[in-house]
Amino acid sequence: MAFDYDKYIRPGKLPHIWCPGCGHGIVMKGLIRAIDSLGLDKNNTAIVSGIGCASRLPGYIDCCTLHTAHGRAAAFATGVKMAKPEMNVILCGGDGDGTAIGGNHFIHACRRNIDMTYIIMNNNIYGMTGGQFSPCTPTGAKASTTPYGNPDPAFDVAKLAIGAGATFVARGTAYHATQIDKLIAEAIQHKGFSVVEILDDCPTTYGRRNKFKSVIEMMNRLKDIAVPVKAAEKMTPEQLEGKVLTGVLYKQEKPEYTTEYAKVIERAKGAK
């Protein structure tokens, strides 16, 4: 039997705003399947986002949803989680929102290891504003503000998250649709700050400027560059040139922030 997405989609809120060929809808369906597979209580689940195309995702899902200011999702979500640690808190947004204007909140959420899951849809561009380069735009690529090619080096979102202290980091792609829900579900189950980067496509503002002839070509690129972590172990550096690792990249058990704060409360109550 086909999966019933309507159980989680708010009535009357579709069609979504995303362009034909955009991968965000694939990610949203993956998130919904993940929520369903874990049996999360919709009343007890908050989905928090910033600004941009990807950040419109929460509005479609029938949970407690918070569409905040540009880059601030992690900070708003931290307030929700601290005040009500029993809630499942899921963040989502794009690469510009999360790693540029929201970079500070992102790394500090990683550092605290607060029990939330951040889904970053990385389409290498600011789509909503018309295709300006982001910290994840490849060097040399064309954007509306890099007409002569992008001089900036790009962030590796997963490495950034690991370096900042996130304790679960995974990567998938919009092409590998059936893997997305599994990665997100594992991330949500992980106790601590988890980051799931989904390599995504923006045919409208990135593809057409960078010589992709079709959405299919963009999707095929995602298929071609993705190498599962296990498969990569058997590959040479030469074979891995230009490839991107997918799957669970990093997982570690470390004290979780709200649990640690509960101990602060116990100590304070015991203090004379």
Binding site: G79, K84, M87, V264, K269
Partner: protein, 377 residues
């Protein structure tokens, strides 16, 4: 039983006022001269099961405040000028989404880093216009340690009652001053909590105006699921660009405060019955003004003090009425004429307004005000 009395600093009194009001969440970032509020909250909140978090920056602190408040938790942050500038982004977010929260902003000089330990009263325009767009503003300006406690409680009450951020702004002198404080007993001061929805979850709309200009607010993590966005929104909380709805919603958000100005505005009139020279002052400057009024009276000058306790909404009606019967206003303030301009703007030219402005990090002393009274009498 004797009431609890203490010798306490203004910032500490603000923290205790917040706890009295039922505050259970604090998010902040270190900044002089407000840090003592955060220090007290970090020690006291966990004792009552509350949460304290020091965020990565001022913007994040304001964001966390709103997130916490959406779970039904009363939330406070403290800051000062440069931090207040950074918080403006999400103060606007709290305005348009109508999420209660309290900002304790201790006024120091500016612009930019200014004089971090010097007093100032130059954030009063930021409190109204700091964030972009049209929006309501409630701003309280206490003048003593006791009043900081009581006005912090009132700040929470107004925030909860009108579903809007409220700024309480002592200047650095009042915030760092130590004075006697008599703690109110629990129940002695009114404590207001936001109105919860009375309709079942499937009927709930977060901006349902059939309940009046201040719709009930549900909490995340209960069985009410709703959407919150900083975009212009419809009564169900979802974005809209429909002109008529956006216009009506924007007007309602401002109206819910402006139409209730009489409930929000608080001021003190001192020796005003026969006064023909009226000092309009607030915060520590009003303390110098009171001293000057007493001295003037000894010298036969009919001086009085109109002390602002609420700065926004501004008591326009009251000052207009006054302007028809007084000879002159004197407006001492630690900025270059912000309050003076507001006074001029509401008295229709009925009386001259003489400003006394200081931005050198020194308080305005009573002698300066007395000299001005003699000059204009």
């Amino acid at each position: 039983m004797a009431k609890k009395v203490a010798f306490m600093q203004g910032n500490e009194a603000g923290a205790h006022g917040a706890l009295y009001a039922g505050c259970k969440f604090f998010a902040g970032y270190p900044i002089t001269p407000s840090t003592e509020v955060a220090e007290v909250m970090s020690a006291e909140l966990p004792k009552v099961g509350g949460k304290f978090i020091q965020m990565e920056d001022e913007i994040g602190a304001m964001a966390a405040l709103i997130g916490a408040s959406l779970t039904g938790t009363k939330a406070l942050t403290s800051t000062s000028g440069p931090g207040f500038s950074l918080k403006q982004e999400n103060i606007g977010y709290a305005c348009i989404t109508e999420v209660p929260c309290v900002i304790f902003n201790v006024m120091r000089g500016g612009p930019s880093t200014g004089m971090p330990t010097g007093p100032s009263q130059s954030d009063i325009m930021s409190a109204k216009w700091g964030t972009h767009g049209d929006h309501p503003a409630i701003c309280l300006v206490p003048a003593s340690v006791q009043e900081i406690f009581e006005e912090t409680v009132r700040a929470f009450n107004l925030s909860e009652k009108y579903r809007t951020p409220v700024t309480i702004m002592p200047d650095e002198i009042v915030a760092h001053m130590r004075e006697r404080i008599v703690f109110p007993e629990p129940g002695e001061l009114e404590v207001i909590n936001r109105t919860a929805p009375s309709v079942p979850p499937e009927k709930y709309k977060p901006y349902d105006t059939s309940f009046g200009d201040v719709p009930p607010l549900a909490a995340f993590g209960t069985n009410y699921r709703f959407h919150v966005t900083g975009l212009n929104k419809m009564e169900d909380g979802f974005p809209t660009t429909k002109a008529a709805i956006v216009q009506a919603e924007e007007e309602r958000q401002v109206r819910k405060v402006e139409a209730n100005a009489d409930d929000i505005i608080k001021y003190e009139e001192y020796l005003m019955d026969d006064a023909d020279i009226v000092v309009v002052a607030f915060g520590s400057t009003s303390r110098s003004a009171r001293f000057a009024v007493n001295e003037a009276r000894k010298q036969g000058i009919k001086a009085g003090l109109f002390r602002l306790i609420t700065f926004w909404p501004f008591p326009e009606k009251q000052l207009l009425a006054l302007s028809k019967k007084v000879k002159a206003f004197i407006t001492p303030e630690m900025n270059l004429g912000m309050c003076t301009g507001v006074v001029k703007g509401c008295i229709e030219g009925n009386a001259p307004v003489h400003g006394i402005f200081r931005v050198d990090g020194e308080p305005i002393n009573p002698g300066q005000i007395l000299d001005k009274m003699k000059e204009v009498k």
